[in-house]
């Protein structure tokens, strides 16, 4: 694939049931592009964790995805409360999610560490009271042609 395909999503912050729709849409697009299943899954999991975080912590946000010849790049931007201490937030098990979020199956403090685990590059920029931008890159490898 030589061209770059771009997607933009506005993620609503008031409907937990819809969280994940953007990630689902990107996963479908990646399947159509024909990337390896493991690469697709890595992108899907990282983006889904980010999308859930956006809904739980920030009242929604915007996601831009670029599927390029060598990598999938995701930029998740919100105008939420921001993260006071990013290094603390990157620790497994550390969470500020309220109990009602845990009762929904999330908020175990695995979101950001998991996003890092499934991506090749991840950068978090956050300002308290302004918002957070997470940029993630998953490198892709072109699927080998049949019989090659």
């Amino acid at each position: 694939m030589s061209q770059t395909i771009s997607f933009h999503y506005d993620v609503p912050g008031d409907d937990f049931t819809r969280a994940g729709e953007a990630s689902s849409s990107v996963k479908k697009a990646l399947k159509q592009v024909g990337l390896a299943p493991e690469i697709i899954r890595n992108v899907a999991i990282a983006m889904y964790e980010g999308e859930i975080n956006m809904v739980i912590h920030a009242g929604g946000g915007q996601i831009d995805v670029e599927i390029g010849p060598d990598a999938v790049r995701m930029v998740l931007k919100d105008q939420g409360p921001g993260i006071k201490d990013i290094s603390l937030a990157m620790q497994e098990g550390w969470s500020t999610a309220p109990d009602d979020v845990r009762s929904l199956g999330f908020g175990a403090g695995m979101g950001l560490p998991n996003m890092k685990k499934y991506t090749d590059e991840m950068d978090v920029e956050s300002t308290v009271g302004v918002g957070t931008t997470v940029t993630m890159t998953v490198r892709t490898h072109p699927r080998e042609e049949a019989g090659a």
Binding site: G20, R41, I45, Y48, I52, L104, G105, P113
Partner: protein
Amino acid sequence: MTIQDIKEILQATILWADEKMLGCEVHTACGSDMMSDVLAFVKDQAVLLTGLVNPQVIRTAEMMDIVCIVFVRGKNPDPAMIDLARERGIALLSCDYRMFTACGLLYENGLRGGCESR
């Protein structure tokens, strides 16, 4: 083990699955009510057993390429969740067993966690 075998072992009700899926071979499973943990620790598991009932269970399964969800403790998803699973091609079963027993029965019959070293 097939999804049909899981149905029989757990005396489960099929909430949604087409004929082709019932014959689908599965080798590994995980059990959790925390989707965070499923996303963090699961790798290549085909079946998810859970007592959590909300649309994010279906979404989590979708992202992880899980092909079958078994709701334990007699939990039943609403029609919107069943529709979502149908659209994604994920089989849905419900059984009355509690999590520990359901996992134990499947393990006893050959299904594994897929990460035996831990």
